[in-house]
Each structure stands twice: as C-alpha cells, then as structure tokens.
C-alpha cells in the first residue's frame, strides 16, 4: 500500500486523573476527578505532508503530540505508524527511531549540564546507530551544519547560545536518528518573529530535502497557515473542524474556527477584529452537548444537549449542528 498514511490516529482519547491524593480526598469526602484532555480524536497524515493541530490553551493539542510519540498511552483508541500499532512501541526501538519530537521551549529542552555534541549524539547512542568517537563526531558535525550551526559549536554548552540557535540544536538532535516523522510542539512560540521565520524556513527546507512528515502543534493561526497541508482545529479535547488547510482558511465552517480567524490581529489594518465572547470552560467540567455552545452565536436547544457528529462538507469534516442544518447565520 504505497498510499497508506504514515500516521493514523483513530478515535484516541486520553483521560487524566486529577484528583487530590487519596488521604486528602477521603478526608474531604471528594469523588475522583478526571479530565478528558483528548476526546475521540482521529486524523491521518500522509508521507511528506504537514498536519497541524491548532487551538487555544487547554484544547488538548499538546496531549495529542505526547500520545503520538508515546510519552503516555492513550486511554482508548489506536495510533498506527505505517500500519503498525504504536501501543507496544516502547518495546519497538526500530519504530521509535523513525520518529522524534521538537519542543516549545529551547531553554528547557536541552540538558544544561551537557555539551551540545552529546545532546545531538544522544539518539545515535541510544539506538546504537553509530559507534566510535570519530564516526559520531563526524555525524554530529554534519547535523550541526545541516541546521546552520558550525561543527565547532558542539564543544559548547546550551547556555552559550541564543533561543533560535538552541532550537536549531533541538532540530539537529531530533534529526540525528534519521527519522521520517517529526512531532513539533509549538516549536517557534518562544522565539522572536525574525528568529521564528528562520526556524520555519529551516523546517520547510529540511522537509523538502529529507522528505519529512510533520505533526505541527501551534496556537498561532498565521504560522499554521504558513506550514500546513492539512489542518485540525481543536476545542476542549475534540477536533471541531478538519481538512485541507487552504480550504479551511479560505472558507471556515465551524463557528469556533470562524471566531478564531476573526480574532487574529490584522496587519492590513482594514477594520478591527471581532472579539470572541466568553472564555474556554474548564475541561474538568465541560458543557454538555456541543462543548462550544456557551460561546456560540448559532447555538440552539439541540446544541445544548446533543453532541454533534462529523458532517463531511467537500473535503472538510465539521462537528456542528448548525452547519449540518444549514443555519449559518444566527
């Protein structure tokens, strides 16, 4: 199957236990509290493509990233990498080698006590891909050059670099085991715009040169539009709209997507933005029915009780009763 997706995420949910410690809970006569951070999320990414998940804080996009790289297992649902299940992936270094992750904060994602050359070489050593000081040293130099740093930078410690340079080091490290798939969790959110442009360009170049597949997580719609082929908009643990990025950006369907797009500051300065009303409710106690209904201008009685399924509209899937019923203005 040459056309099978590289990554398939099928109805994945993840529930966290957020209750207080046992003794305190018993003393205060509290129930266990659980938080459904990811709720039946499905998507697929084709080889060489970029799928972005976008949403506000607490929508579960970072949890999806962590589920995909196996930092913790899904509560239900399945994740398949080239058709093979990832649930037993801890026991499958061969599969694990083919994916890696880039983190948001370049100040926290590099061990401050390690030299850059050891940070970059760690995956090489962990998977036993190369042995011998010289072979590893050469490969590290090559990787550093690939991300725009000098091989001599390997001797330094992370604190000797700026934020953008550190993110380059993270990328070099992520690429060292020659993965085909990278999960990028807000890779430029902590960077200044001019540095962000450098990193985004670098990521695009590397994708073309090495044929990488990206799962890109961001809250910044402009960055997402720049990077993505496919898009998933998340709200309170669910994907509310997904499909080809260009289609969603040119004709957003879900009221939440439309609000998000309207809230973006406008550099063209044609008219102000329309603020979204209200705030994201607590994921511990999500609203019944459609989770967006308390903020939605199109909500009616059905939205308050019945959770919407996905309606296909062209290539786009939308979870909205209003779109399904054709009620597009309040």
């Amino acid at each position: 199957m040459p056309d099978a997706p590289m990554l398939e995420v099928d109805a994945v949910s993840r529930v966290f236990d957020v209750s207080r410690p046992w003794l305190q809970r018993v003393l205060a006569r509290e129930e266990r509290l659980s938080l459904r951070a990811v709720d039946e999320v499905s998507f697929a990414i084709d080889r060489g493509a970029t799928l972005s998940l976008v949403g506000e804080s607490g929508c579960g996009k970072s949890t999806v990233a962590r589920l995909v790289v196996g930092l913790f297992p899904p509560t239900s649902g399945s994740i398949r990498f080239e058709g093979q299940s990832l649930s037993a992936a801890r026991a499958q270094p061969a599969l694990r080698r083919r994916m890696n992750m880039i983190f948001q904060d370049p100040y926290a994602s590099l061990n401050p006590r390690w030299r850059v050359r050891d940070i970059v070489a760690e995956p090489l050593r962990a998977f036993g891909l190369l042995s011998g000081r010289d072979a590893i040293g050469d490969r590290v130099g090559e990787l550093l050059r690939q991300v725009g740093l000098a091989p001599a930078d390997g001797e330094k410690f992370p604190h000797e670099f700026s934020g953008g340079q550190r993110q380059r080091i993270s990328i070099a490290r992520a690429l060292s085991s020659e993965p085909e798939f990278l999960v990028c969790d807000e890779p430029t959110s902590a960077l200044d715009v001019s540095v962000q442009a450098q990193i985004l360009n670098l990521m695009k170049d590397l994708q073309q040169r090495l044929g990488l597949t990206y799962l890109f997580i961001s809250h910044n719609l402009a960055v997402v539009r720049h990077m993505s082929d496919q898009l998933g908009v998340m709200y309170l643990g669910r994907i509310v709209e997904s499909g080809p990025a260009e289609e969603i950006f040119s004709a957003p369907l879900h009221p939440y997507t439309r609000m998000l797009l309207a809230a973006i500051p406008d550099l063209d300065m044609v008219g102000g933005r329309t603020p979204v009303a209200g705030e994201v409710p607590s994921p511990i106690d999500p609203p019944p029915g459609c989770p967006f209904h308390p903020r939605c201008p199109l909500a009616n009685a059905r939205c308050r009780v019945e959770r919407p399924g996905y309606t296909p509209t062209g290539d786009v899937l939308v979870a909205c009763h209003a779109v399904e019923e054709g009620r597009t203005s309040p």
């Binding site: 801890r90 926290a108 006590r113």
Partner: protein, 307 residues
C-alpha cells in the same frame, strides 16, 4: 591537558569564584577549614608530640599549663592533660578523627539520600509516598537519638571483641543513617521539578530507560543543592560525633576525637585545669562554625535568585 587548563581558566573567571573573592567571611571560613584539614591530615608529621606513643609519655608532665598562663612553656603551647599528653597534638589527632567520621558519614548519608530522593521523585505514586513517610517519621526524632539507637543496636549485634576494631565504622553508619532524610527530601524536590522539563521528555521520547534518565539527565541537575546540604550537614555530623563521644558511646578511648577530649577534660574543669577541655572545645566550635558559614555562602552563591 589543554582542555583541563581551559576549564580551570573558565572556573577562575566564573561568577562563582568572583562571588567568593568578594566575600570576606567565605574567604576567612575557607582559611580556617583549610588549616583544620591540613592540621588533621598532616598530624603524624607535624604534631609536636605523639599522644599515642605511651613510651614518650611521662606522668611528671601532667597538667602543664598553656602559654596563656603565667608559667606556660613552649614545649606544650596548649598545656598537657592528666596523662601528660600534649593538648595541641591531641587536638590535631582529634580533628583527624572528627573530620574523618564527619566526611565519611556525610558521604554515606548523601549517597543513600540522593538515591532514595531520585527514585521517590522520579517514580512518584506509592513508592514516593512510602519513602517520604519513612523520611518524615525519622525527621520527627532528633538525629542524635537515631544515631544513639543505631549505635546501640549494632553494638548489641556485634561480638564484644569487635567493638574496638569496628567502632569507627559503626559510628559512621549511625550518623549516616541519622542524616539521610534531608538529602532525600531535597533531591526529591528538585527531581520533581526536573522530571517534567522538556529535556527529560526528549530523553523519554527516544525510549531511554528510567535508570539511565535518572543517572545521566536528572542527577547532574540536582547536585547543586546536594553540595550545599552536604556542607551544612557536615558541621552537624561532626557535632553528632562529638556528642556521641562526649556521652561515651562513640569512639573507643584509643581513638580520641575532639568530643572525647572535651569529655576527658570536663572532669578537670573545676579543679582549675581549664585548658584540657576549653582548647578542644574552641577548636571544635571554630571548625564547625567555619564549615557552616562556608555552607551558607555556598547556598547563596548557587542560588540564582539571590544573585
């Protein structure tokens, strides 16, 4: 070689050394500690007399007064005790024992404490709860009580003829066991912070084992506070040992530490031979105070928020 020279140059130029050079108290404390360590380490070579050589002792020399007194003489600058042993030499040899026991018990306590703290902090859950409750319970007793208890249990378990030979190891074990919880608590706290940092996530993503992550990633990042606590606790451990020896349950009299000297001298305090107990006491206070001041400075110097 060149790498080492460069590392040394970088160290000499670091904020750490700069902060040290700007703190007269730290410099003075380090000086006192260095003198104590040198005196203790080189005691067999530089001490004016050998207090353990029975052949050189002469009861005629007992209770010679120190130089401070009117009829003191240079042969015994700090006077002699009831057996005619030179107090200065006794202090030098006593410091040797005190420092040895202190350092060894802190090494023991820190190794145990760091390991337990790392495991508790990284594993979390039940393991964490059990280990930390044990530490909590132990912390409700004074350390000296724990040391007394351990000392008593081990002595009871050992045959009597081994007491003398193993005495020093027993006391190191006793103080070490009494002092590990503080290391464990601190390391657990730092580990809880470090284990959620992205560099640990990055190591988990490539499938490294827990043991390897703890040893290579977390351990180097939690050692800063351990150094501070080790220094501060070293003073306490030396006092623990002195207290045990003062109570007579510590080291055998054949290996007199500062505590032993103070106890022996205590008997003569009111008969006028004050120097036999005061000088070892002053030496103990100076040494412990300097170590603690050094630890205080270290804590401030390593705390980026105070800088």
């Amino acid at each position: 070689m060149r790498g080492a020279a460069r590392a040394l140059a970088r160290f000499a130029d670091s904020d750490f050394v700069y902060s040290f050079s700007r703190s007269p108290i730290a410099i003075l404390s380090l000086l006192v500690v260095a003198v104590c360590i040198l005196a203790a380490a080189l005691a067999p070579l530089i001490a004016p007399h050998d207090p353990f050589n029975l052949a050189s002792l002469n009861l005629m020399d007992s209770f010679r007064p120190p130089l401070l007194a009117a009829d003191g003489e240079w042969t015994y600058p700090l006077g002699t005790d009831d057996q005619g042993r030179d107090v200065l030499s006794g202090i030098m040899f006593g410091m040797r024992i005190s420092l040895l026991v202190g350092v060894a018990s802190i090494v023991f306590a820190s190794v145990v404490g760091v390991a337990i703290g790392l495991v508790a902090g990284y594993a979390g859950g039940t393991v964490d709860a059990v280990l930390m409750r044990v530490a909590d319970i132990q912390l409700t007793f004074p350390a000296i009580l724990i040391a007394l208890l351990v000392d008593g249990v081990v002595r009871a378990a050992l045959p009597k003829d081994m007491h003398e030979a193993l005495g020093i190891y027993v006391i190191i074990l006793a103080i070490g066991i009494a002092r590990w919880p503080q290391f464990a608590r601190t390391v657990r706290g730092s580990t809880l912070v470090e284990r959620n940092r992205d560099y640990v996530m990055a190591a988990r993503v490539i499938g490294l084992s827990r043991a390897r992550i703890m040893a290579t990633h977390i351990l180097p990042n939690v050692l800063g506070p351990v150094l501070v606590i080790a220094t501060l606790t070293l003073g306490l451990a030396i006092l623990d040992e002195a207290t045990l020896s003062f109570l007579g349950v510590g080291l055998p009299v054949t290996q007199p530490s500062l505590g032993t000297l103070i106890r022996i001298g205590n008997d003569f305090l009111f008969s006028g031979e004050w120097w036999v107990t005061i000088f070892p006491g002053v030496a103990l206070v100076l040494m412990v105070l300097s170590i603690n001041l050094l630890g205080d400075w270290l804590r401030d110097a390593l705390n980026p928020r105070l800088r």
